[in-house]
Every structure is written in C-alpha cells, then in structure tokens.
C-alpha cells in the first residue's frame, strides 16, 4: 500500500498522534497532566497496534494492542496517580523546557531522525519507513524528556514513552517475528520500573521526588 490509501493514512495518523503526544509530554509542566498525556499516548499506541494487526492481518498484534491499552492506557497511569496522591505531589509544578524551546529541540530531533531513517530504509515499504521515523522521534523525545526532568516520576514517564516508541517501531515492521513476546517483555520491564520507583519512593519517604537528592548518597562520597 502506498500514499493516498486508507491503511497508510490511518497508520500515519496514529503514529503522528503518538509523536504529537510526545511533544505534549515534553513541555507539559503539571505532573497530573503529564500522566494523562501519557495515558492518551498509550491508548493511541494500542489503536495503532490494533490497526496494524488489521492491516497486516497479524492476529498476534491484537494481543499487543490489548496489553498496551490495559497497561499503558489504564494501569500504569492509575498507579502513577496513586503515587502522586500518596506523596501529594499533584500540585507540584516543575521546571521543564519552555514551549518554544521544547518545540525547537523536538522538531530538531524529528528532523534528525527523518534524515537518518528515510535514506537508511530505502529497501523497506513506505509505511514501515514512516513508522520507524516516527518511532525514532518518539524514542529521542522520550530520552530528551528523561534528561530535562528532575522529578523521578516524570523521568519514568519519559522512559515509558520512549518504550512506546519501541512498540510503535516493532508493530510497524510487517512480519516481525516475536513482536508480541518482545513488546510483552518490554512491558514487563516498564512495569518493573514503575514497581521499582513505587517501592523505592515509598520506602525511602523522601520528602521530595527530586532525584538530585539521591546524588548525596553515592557510595564513597564525592
């Protein structure tokens, strides 16, 4: 299928949506809003997976879609909300890149990924190429978010959206074997991360979630 066909357009639309939400995550300051944006991204990803399942006729991807929706669209956001409530952070507004700056950085990263991917994937189908480009952008934006946020939860969300990018890439490549297994495994990793931050934050009872407060505790000091 090529440009101008329905399948292509829908897949493109969904991928673009995921990317757009990455931008939202990037400049969204309020923690609650960040979590919601992430939930939306997860849902969109699930839709994308479902559509790919339909388009490629790969029933396995439906499973991926369901998992993605359940975990990323519902459970993890709820868990994160719970943490936020437990540590009453929902008011907390934290420094992120300003809109303009985050936009420019993001656009630059998207440009870079397109510059890299499109010539790199001439062999592959147009849809796959688009998808990989979008996925790479999402990955890079996720990393950018991780390094611009001090708040542990925002960092986790950055990692999660980064992983969304991976799933996006995985489902985009038609006929990828093990895609379900891989996405599941990645999901497990993410859940583990959330559980980790959960256990870790609660146990430590840091008055702040600022990861900077960890630095003092490095072994053998400074």
């Amino acid at each position: 299928m090529s440009f101008g066909q329905l399948g292509y357009d829908v897949a493109h639309l969904l991928g673009g949506g995921v990317l757009l939400l990455s931008f939202v995550l990037l400049y969204q300051r309020r923690i609650g809003a960040v979590i919601n944006a992430f939930a939306t991204q997860g849902t969109l990803l699930a839709l994308a997976a479902a559509w790919q399942a339909h388009a490629q006729g790969a029933p396995g991807l439906y499973l991926t879609a369901v998992l993605a929706f359940a975990a990323k669209g519902v459970l993890i956001p709820l868990a994160l909300h719970a943490i936020v409530r437990r540590l009453n952070l929902h008011r907390s507004v934290e420094t992120a890149l300003g809109v303009g700056l985050s936009m420019t950085a993001g656009v630059a990263l998207v440009g870079l990924s397109i510059l890299v991917v499109l010539p790199a994937t001439e062999g592959a189908r147009a849809l796959a190429r688009e998808d990989v480009a979008l996925a790479l952008s999402v990955v890079l934006l996720g990393m950018l978010m991780m390094i611009t946020r001090r708040n542990a939860i925002s960092q986790v969300i950055g990692l999660l959206s980064l992983e969304n990018g991976l799933i996006l890439a995985a489902i985009g490549v038609a006929g990828m074997p093990l895609v379900v297994e891989l996405s599941t495994a990645a999901l497990v990793l993410m859940v583990a991360v959330v559980a980790g931050v959960f256990a870790f934050q609660i146990r430590e009872r840091f008055d702040t979630l600022d990861t900077g407060s960890l630095e003092e505790h490095r072994g053998e000091g400074r």
């Binding site: 990263l109 870079l112 990924s113 510059l115 890299v116 010539p119 790199a120 890079l140 990393m143 950018l144 991780m146 390094i147 611009t148 946020r149 001090r150 960092q155 990861t211 900077g212 960890l214 630095e215 400074r222």
Partner: protein, 693 residues
C-alpha cells in the same frame, strides 16, 4: 691455538645428540627449580625444608653453569615445548649468546644460593622461600626463550618473584613498600614496552618466534621505534638512565642473596634482552646511529651511578648505584659494537662486544660477591648504614678480604677482572674515531672521557665503601661485637672472590670462550692476542694480565727484600695521634666516632665538585659555639633528577587528569542519561552525514 678450540675440536661436542643433552639439562634444571618453588610452602613447615630448597637451588645453578659452558663449546639447538600460549607452543633454544648469560646466571646463582643456605637460621617463611627458585627459573626461562611470548613470560615471572622478595619486609617499613611498588610498576611498564617492541618487529605477520623475526628485519622509523621500546623495556630493567630510579630503591630492600642476584644476574638478563634485540633480531644490516643512544644513555648511567655511589650512606644502596654505573659501561660497549658493525668494522665491533660481554660476566661475579659481603656485614653488625659500622676487618677478616677482592675489581685495578674488561672497553672507545662520522667521533670522545670519569669515580666509591666499613674504628658497640659467618657463608664469599681473581688473570680464555657469541653478534671474532693476553686489534695494544701480575709481584718482592735487608724487623705500637682530639669519654669505649670520617664527610669533595651540578646536592655545616666540645655536624643530601621527575610532575599530571575524570563521575543520573543521549544523537548525526555523502 685458542684454548677452547681444541675442546671444540673434539668431535663429540659437535654431536647433535650432545647438544640436545645440553638443552635438556638446562630445561631439567629450570623445571627442577619450578618443582622446588611448588614444593616450598609444604617444605617450609619442616626444619629441613628450607635447606632442601636452597640446596636444590644451588645444585640447579651449578647445572645451569655447566650447561652454559656446554652450550658455548657445543653448537646451537632448539626445541618446542609441549605447552605454551593458547596459539602455539612455547619455543626454547640455546645459542652462544644465551649460553654466555646462562653462565653468568649459573655462577651468580650458585654463590647466592650457597650464601642463603649458610645464613639460614631455623625455618624460613614460605613467602621468602617460595619466590627464590621461581626467580632463578624466571631468569633461566628468559635466557632460554626462542619466541617473544616465552621470553616475556620469563621476564615478568622474574619480576613478579623478585617483587615478592623486595616486599619481604613490607610490614616494617613504608620505604620497602614504596620500593616494591615502584619496582613492580617499572616491571609492568617494561613488559608492556617489550610486547610493543615484539609487535612492531613482527609486523603484519604477527609471528613472534625468533626465527620468524630474523626473517624480516625492520628499517627506518620501525627500527628506531623498536630500539626505543627495547630501551624503555629492557633498559629500565637493566637500570639505564633515566629509568634507573627503581634500582637503588629495590635492590637494597630485598634479602642480601636476592639483592646479589638482582644486581649480578637480573640486570644482565635485561642486558641480554637488549643484545638479543639489537644484535640478533633486528638483523645485522642496521645503520651506524643505532648504537648512538646506547652509548649516550650508557655514559649518562655510568656517571650518575658512580657519583651516587660516592654519596649514598647505605652500603647496599651504594652497591646498587655502582651496578647502574657498570650497566652503563656494558651498554657503552654494546652501543659501540652496534656502531662499528654499522660502519662495517667487524673486528672493532667484536672488540667492543667482547668488552661488553666480559664486563657483564666480571660485574656479575664481583657484584654478587660485594652484595653477599654486605649481607654478611648486615648480619654481623646489624646495620647497613656506613655511619654505624667500621673496623670490621678485625672482627670479620674473611669477609673483609673477600670483599677487598671485589672492591679492587670494581675499582678496576690491575690485575683483577674489572680492569681487564674496562681496558678492553677503553680500547674500543679509543678506536671509536675510526667510525667516519664526525658527530659520532665527537660523541665518542665525550663518552670516552665520561667512561674514564665513571671508572675513577667507582674507584673512589669503592675506597669509601671498604675503607669506612672495614677500616678505622667501630662506630657502634654492635659493630665492635660483629662476628664472622659460618663456613658455608665464607665459602659463598670465597668462591666469587676466587673467580674474580681468576677471570682477572685469564681474560683471554674467557674471551675465547665467548667467541661464538661474538660471532653471533658481530659476524667476527675478537682480535687474537694469544693465550694469556687480550688485544685491542691485530698488532695493536696488548694487555698481559698474568705478566703484569708477575711483574707486580716481583716488584713488591724486590721492595720487601730491599727493605728487609736494611730495616729492623717488627713494629712498635702506640696510641693514635688523633689530631689533638681530646680522649673519648667513658661511654665511648671504642673511641669517639665523631672523630672519624663519616660517610657524608668522605663524600664531601665529590659532592661539591660534581654533586651540586649533577644531583642538586646540598650540604650545611652547623658549627658548635666556640669552646663547646660538641662536634661540628655536616648535613648533606641530594636528589636524583629522574626520581624527582617521576615523583613530581608525573603524579601532578595524573592527578590533574583524574580530577577532570572525577567531574564526569560526579554527574547526576540525568546528566549520565545526557551522556547516553548525546552519544545517540552524535552517532545518528554521524550516520546522517555519512549517508549524505
């Protein structure tokens, strides 16, 4: 007819089966040493354990010496061991060059082992017992190796074993730990440098077997790089300036018999590696300048070492410095041989190489002797500091006279061994003008002056050593109560002393024995000079040690006879005229030490003449107020510039770099992620750029 030639003429020595036997004998001796090392921890528990181990070491050393002579008289032979590195067998071989140095190792090892055996008191700690055979075995392996890996295996094993021995008193003194630390650091550095040297030499083929290396001799910058790396690796091990700083620290820290081996044998093993590279592996078609760095560094080491020997106040450190001087002289000889060979003067090349080899042998013997004597002094008078010794000739006559033989040889006095080899070396230096190149001639003239200066400085140092330790009056009660060692110890001292005299009287025989090694190095033989003489060149100057000795004896005899005819026999004894010093107080029954020359006082003239400029030496005299009876005190000290550089700027640069690196480590998690992110973006940008092109 040269002496060994009729021996060589005996057909049975040419028999290949005999050559195999020689190599097998040497390998068995080495293996035996390894077995001893393995068994040492268990044996150390029993009272008879230590004597078994050390006796075994002595026996193995004798075997090695015997095998070496066999190797010199017989021919070369090679063998592949059934084990080795993961990529091939370990190759061993014996040829004239390695045999010559094996002879050195055997002689030094025998004396040292007997001494250790004799100075045993009760059970020996495993950490002192186990490394010793390993040390000997490591040196033997290095000399027997026929490929780069085996050579370095032995080289580093030798370093590691001796490091344990250098650190044997680690609990007592920080100084020993520092010595051991610096020593092992230099050892590792040397090993890595030699690895690179083998790599550059092997080139693309990557085969480090000697046979393969000889096939493709390097040229141009590769040859220069190989030489530089070998000088860094083997040179640092031998104690060539400026990488000699570890030597005066490490050699004294070890037990005396180990110090003797380190100075007598280990430095020679390093010299062997140097010679093996420069004369054998790098091929014979090397340019003249290849010898220049050896001559320059050798001259520098000779002067620095000899001068420091005049300033040190610890007898073992003093001897270690004199080792640096002698290594420098040997390296001058090797460098000249290289230059002569490059200038196509084979006879002179053989002369210089002969001087180097002969001096290596002589130095090994007399330095072993001197270190063993120092050990005996330490054992008898419980101190290594000159200012706590004195007058020992009365209490330890055997040690004193044996040491005197070594001292005279080290001071290069005729007719002892040191003079013979240094005479050859001077002849080689005096002939160096025959190399056409003017710059080299000037350099060689300077080297001649420096070599002579070093020799004379060594004489001064040796007079200072022997005179202050064995002559004069005891400076401490312990020195006054010193006692001679047991029979074995005396034997261990007399053996090398006898060899020193013997090699001094028959240098020609030893030179003839070394002839195959010289052929291997320079494709020529040392100039013939008849049976009892050594000669500079055909029809050139000659040195007839036996006749000179006879002449000297006759002259002394004549003088004695003449004096006896006119003078009354016997002497009268009286108190010393002590230059008006008041009589010593009662708490000093052995006289007032402060009315005797001290170590630093004796070194004063040379410290002022040369030390201030070369070693940043300083001194200050604190005079007592007029009328006080307190002695004036002379404080003095000096720095070895190389050591200052090693412990000054180098650590500063390192710490500066480390400080920068720490900044990287202090990053927060986010910044670490930033590093990863940066790496990804950089990589992607690079790819985009690559694809754009």
């Amino acid at each position: 007819m040269r002496f060994p030639e009729w021996l060589r003429g005996v057909s049975s020595l040419r028999d290949p089966r005999l050559r195999h036997a020689v190599l097998t004998l040497l390998l068995l001796a080495t293996g035996g040493l390894l077995v001893l090392a393995a068994a040492a921890p268990a044996l150390a528990r029993h009272a008879k354990g230590a004597p078994v181990v050390l006796g075994g070491c002595a026996a193995a050393s004798v075997l090695i010496a015997a095998g070496a002579v066999g190797g010199l008289l017989g021919g070369p032979d090679a063998l592949d061991l059934p084990f080795g590195p993961p990529w091939g067998p370990a190759r061993v071989a014996i040829d004239a060059l390695s045999a010559w140095f094996l002879l050195i190792l055997g002689l030094a090892g025998t004396a040292a082992s007997i001494f250790a055996l004799g100075s045993l008191h009760g059970p020996e700690a495993p950490r002192r017992l186990l490394p010793y055979p390993l040390f000997l075995a490591g040196m033997a392996v290095t000399l027997l190796a026929a490929d780069g890996f085996t050579l370095l295996l032995g080289f580093e094993a030798m370093s590691l074993a001796s490091w344990v021995l250098v650190a044997h008193e680690h609990e007592e003194e920080e100084a020993n730990r520092r010595a051991a630390r610096i020593y092992l650091g230099f050892a590792g550095f040397g090993g890595l440098s030699l690895m690179l040297a083998f790599g550059v030499l092997a080139g693309g083929a990557g085969d480090v077997a000697f046979a393969a290396l000889r096939e493709a001799p390097p040229d141009g910058w590769r040859a220069a790089l190989v030489l530089a790396l070998v000088l860094a690796g083997a040179g640092s091990k031998a104690g060539l300036a400026p990488l000699h700083v570890w030597l005066p620290l490490a050699h004294p820290a070890a037990p005396s018999h180990v110090s003797a081996l380190m100075s007598g044998a280990m430095t020679k093993v390093a010299i062997y590696v140097l010679a093996r590279f420069a004369f054998d592996l790098m091929g014979s078609a090397q340019p003249l300048w290849l010898g220049a760095p050896l001559v320059a560094l050798g001259a520098a080491s000779a002067v620095i070492g000899a001068l420091r020997a005049n300033l040190e106040e610890d007898i073992k450190t003093l001897l270690a410095c004199s080792t640096i001087e002698n290594v420098g002289l040997i390296s001058i000889g090797l460098g000249l041989a290289l230059a002569f060979r490059g200038a196509d003067l084979p006879a002179l090349a053989a002369l210089a190489a002969g001087a180097a080899l002969l001096h290596a042998l002589n130095h090994a013997v007399f330095k072993t002797l001197l270190f063993l004597a120092a050990g005996e002094v330490l054992h008898g008078a419980l101190s290594r500091r000159i200012d706590r010794l004195g007058g020992l000739i009365h209490r330890m006559p055997v040690t004193a006279w044996a040491a005197l033989a070594g001292v005279a040889a080290a001071a290069s006095l005729p007719p002892l061994s040191g003079f013979a080899s240094e005479w050859l070396l001077l002849q080689a230096l005096l002939a160096s003008w025959r190399v056409g190149d003017l710059a080299f001639q000037m350099g060689a003239a300077a080297a001649t002056a420096l070599a002579a200066l070093a020799a004379a400085l060594a004489a001064a140092a040796m007079v200072r050593f022997w005179g202050l330790v064995f002559l004069g009056r005891p400076r401490t009660p312990r020195a006054a109560g010193a006692e001679e060692g047991g029979r074995l110890v005396q034997a261990a001292l007399i053996l090398p002393a006898a060899l020193t005299v013997l090699f001094g009287l028959l240098p020609g025989v030893m030179l003839d024995l070394a002839e195959p090694a010289l052929r291997l190095m320079t494709r020529a033989a040392a100039p013939r000079a008849g049976f009892v003489a050594i000669g500079a060149a055909e029809g050139g100057a000659r040195y007839w040690p036996l006749l000179v000795a006879l002449l000297l004896a006759a002259a002394v005899g004549a003088v004695v006879w003449a004096v006896r005819r006119r003078a009354p026999a016997g002497v009268a004894r009286g108190p010393i005229w002590d230059c008006g010093f008041i009589a010593a107080p009662h708490h000093l029954p052995f006289g007032d030490p402060s009315s005797q020359p001290t170590a630093s006082g004796f070194g004063q003239p040379l410290r002022r003449m040369l030390g201030t400029s070369l070693l940043a030496a300083r001194e200050g005299v604190t005079m007592p107020p007029p009328g006080a009876t307190a002695p004036a005190v002379l404080q003095s000290g000096f720095h070895d510039p190389a050591l200052v550089a090693l412990e000054g700027p180098v650590p500063r640069w390192r710490d500066a770099a480390a400080a920068q690196a720490e900044r990287l480590r202090d990053l927060s998690i986010r910044q670490c992620l930033g590093l990863t992110f940066g790496a990804v973006v950089l990589m992607l940008a690079l790819l985009a750029w690559l694809e754009a092109r």
